[in-house]
Amino acid sequence: MSLAAPPNPEVTSITLPPVPNRKEESWRFADLSQLKSLEDLQPASAVELDSAGLSTIGVEEASARFVFANSKLISQTGDALPDGVIVLSLADAREKHKALVDEHFMAQPFELGSAGYAELHREHTSEGVVIYVPSGVVIEKPIEVTHWLGGDKTVIFPHTLVVAEANAQVSVIDQFVSADETSASLSIGVCDLIAKDGANITYANIQRWNSATRGIQIASTSAGKDANVKSFTLNLGGTWIRNEATSHLNGAGGNSDMLSVNVASGSQQFDQRTLQLHHAPNTTSDLLYKNALYDTSKTVFAGLIVVDDGAHGTDAYQTCRNLFLSDDAEANSMPGLEINADQVKCSHGSTSGQIEDDELFYFLARGIKPTTARQLITIGFTAEVVDKIGNAALQDFALARIEEKFANLPV
């Protein structure tokens, strides 16, 4: 059996790995009760979703669109793509491009605490896409993948694998949406972005589950020589979301931008752990995560930059900013550095604050209501991150989703 073998269709129940211990550094400040309460889970594919009722909002133009509903591929459309480009569902790719899948499927180590959940994903995943772009090929319009999820105690395992060969260019958007407002589901996703020498990958994860769904998303990025990867995560929905993101800087001149916007309201919890691993000299990475915290929401940010022995000339930055819009919210920040090399420029920063009175006053003086002013300031706060994606289609889509959430927030 190959490592990337499809799951056994006979499986009717899913058993989660043992709940981690908060004493483990990677689960410090984590709310483990969120994981403890999960039991009697079943594969989402066992629950039928009415695909007619699912209206997918997407980017204006896409070179390919995939829609999955409870793990099943329900729609696949797209342009004709240049020769050699592979854009297939994971199931199809397993059949038609076994060697490619075997080589890259979950080949990165899982070091941020969720290795057990990743193994479960490895065992069960059948949904998601595999994208392969050959050397020098540029795909202008983004590839869009939508995962719908519904039904109580259902689990999906969305998988994304993007391989861009030398000097290739591609942008991908994954969006996660609930089919209804109430069912408490679980998503355990894995996303691997592999940019070979000089390649360019832009990726956006747009998460807007309903307020009862939990999610674990494990992402890794590998950047080769002079490669450039931008990875953006937007968290709007979900009751408890855990993001683990690792960037491997493998070749000189490689760059990884790690971006995230989290708008936390109600009792939402967003728990994010990141690793920036500089294995090669003269590599750069830049992380910017921003949290806007409403109501009794809670965020955890734990980031670590590791500069390996010999990775001289590294430039690595890490910034986490928390904007409090409520007196009952909580933000935990653990920005970390581990430097083993020389001629390194590294910095990290973390701030927590609220909207200043003089900022508000500026708006009020211009006849703008305080509620609108607060909203505008907060949107501006998040827009700084979105602007860094550097892809107009992805930026517009992300900003529109952020504004949607703000429009629905009680002020």
């Binding site: 004493k23 919210a329 933000a331 430097i339 990290h348 927590s352």
Partner: protein, 473 residues
């Protein structure tokens, strides 16, 4: 080579000799190797502890035995401590000395070699020098005792001033705070007890020198300082230890209590020899309007784990940690700060600078906690690391928890190295590479060194010069 360089090297050589200095051991009481209830009983018997102290120690021993090593987050080097090969109590069994003349000659000699009291005695308000576990010499100027300031060994504090001592003892740092505070609570001996009455502003810094002089012997001093309403105190603690063949454990507990509007400044220069495990718990409790500043410099030891903390319990209390760490070959300086905001409008500031030389590793670990329903709390944290060689290592692991929207926190860290341009510039002007490096490093920490009292900053500068000397090949 200029004459000036020769002088610097000479100074360095003398300094090194002092560090290697060792007198024959002469211990009347020795609890032997290893730790058990018997060891604790032995210590209690020798020290004629009250029953409550004996019970306190035994309870602590249990906590120590139950608690696991914190290797889930800390360095694995901790596993190299063999608790069975450590002697937990040594004493020459003599009463603390009243006057300088009564101090045994060899002890005096050690202090002379360290250059302490002869030159500085007139200058300092009181000297408390620790020779192994018991204070060998203790002198508080009459003026201080006239004002009601108590400055004694913690053993005397326990016996003569139980009404103050017992009220605060173990209250700032509970026995179960961590494995090493529990160890200290079980076997503590030595350390200082200071009480400053309301309104008394102690002009000169009080000072204690510690010295480990028995191989394989850990020092477990326990210091408790209480500064009453509106009073002020500066306390200095400096350490040097002779070099031994096998590792030594040093695990102190220092508790500070600043009552309303009091100010405490606690200054440490730690220069243990490079085989010492220095695992220290230091914490202060600041009441309304009070200020506690930890000024901490770590140069020596094999592994130092020390995160001075301030619990800001009263409104407008302030906490500050200023820290310099220098990690040379084989050393790990794992230092940081813990700021617990527990009242409105409390402010804390952490400034940490570390230098890693050769294979040295410096780590900053910080914790800032601002709980719910407080207003107007502020924290500022800055940590800057300087890497000297390509094998040097530095880590930063802060943790900041903020609840509520009426606070401001900021954390910044940077890592850099001495630029080749800087070195080139200085070499153009006739400095050799070592001197240029020293100058650069001294420049890096200069703004913090100025926070230390004059004689310490001179000594610090010299120590940095010495540590930097062999860093460039």
């Amino acid at each position: 080579m200029s004459d000036e360089t020769a002088t610097v090297e000479q100074v360095a050589l003398e300094k090194d000799d002092i560090g290697n200095f060792k007198f024959p051991e002469r211990n009347k009481f020795d609890a032997g190797y290893g730790l058990s209830e018997k060891t604790v009983d032995y210590i209690c018997d020798v020290k004629k502890d009250d029953d409550w102290v004996r019970a306190f120690r035994k309870r602590a021993l249990k906590v120590f035995e139950e608690k696991p090593m914190p290797t889930n987050w800390a360095t694995k080097d901790l596993e190299n401590i063999d608790f069975d090969k450590i002697r937990y109590y040594l004493s020459d069994g003599e009463r603390p000395k009243r006057s300088w003349d009564e101090v045994p000659d060899d002890v005096k000699k050690t202090f002379d070699r360290l250059g302490i009291p002869e030159q500085e005695r007139a200058f300092l308000a009181g000297v408390e020098a620790q020779y192994d576990s018991e204070a060998a010499y203790s002198n508080v100027k009459d003026a201080l005792s006239d004002e009601g300031v108590i400055f004694v060994t913690s053993a005397d504090g326990l016996k003569d001033h139980p009404e103050i001592f017992r009220k605060w003892f173990g209250k700032v740092i509970p026995t179960g705070d961590n494995k090493f505070s529990a160890l200290n609570s079980a076997v503590f001996s030595g350390g200082s007890f200071i009480y400053v009455p309301p309104g008394v502003k102690v002009k000169h810094p009080l000072q204690a020198y510690f010295r480990i002089n028995s191989e394989n012997f850990g020092q477990f001093e326990r210091t408790l300082i209480i500064v009453d309403e509106g009073a002020e105190l500066t306390y200095m603690e400096g350490c040097t230890a002779p070099k031994f063949e096998t590792a030594t454990l040093h695990s102190a507990v220092v508790e500070l209590v600043a009552m309303k509007d009091a100010k405490i400044q606690y200054i440490t220069v730690q220069n243990w020899s490079s085989n010492v495990f220095n695992l220290v718990t230091k914490r202060g409790l600041a009441h309304e309007g009070a200020e506690i500043r930890w000024i901490d410099c770590n140069i020596g030891s094999r592994l130092t784990m020390k995160y001075p903390g301030v619990i800001m319990k009263g409104r407008k209390a302030r906490g500050e940690v200023i820290s310099i760490a220098l990690a040379n070959d084989g050393q790990h300086q794992d230092t940081g700060a813990k700021m617990v905001h527990a009242a409105d409008e409390t402010t804390s500031n952490v400034v940490s600078k570390s230098i890693s030389v050769g294979t040295g590793r410096s780590t900053y670990r910080g914790q800032v906690h601002i709980p719910k329903h407080l207003k107007g709390c502020k924290n500022n944290t800055e940590c800057d690391a300087l890497l000297i060689n390509s094998k040097s290592r530095t880590d930063t692991y802060p943790a900041i928890t903020v609840r509520g929207n009426q606070h401001a926190t900021q954390h910044e860290a940077s890592v850099s190295q001495v630029s080749e341009d800087q070195i080139f510039y200085m070499k153009q002007r006739g400095l050799n590479e070592g001197e240029a490096m020293s100058l650069s490093v001294n420049g890096f920490v200069n703004d913090l060194v100025r926070e230390f009292p004059m004689e310490y900053s001179v000594e610090l500068k010299r120590l940095i010069d010495l540590e930097m000397e062999e860093s460039v090949g």
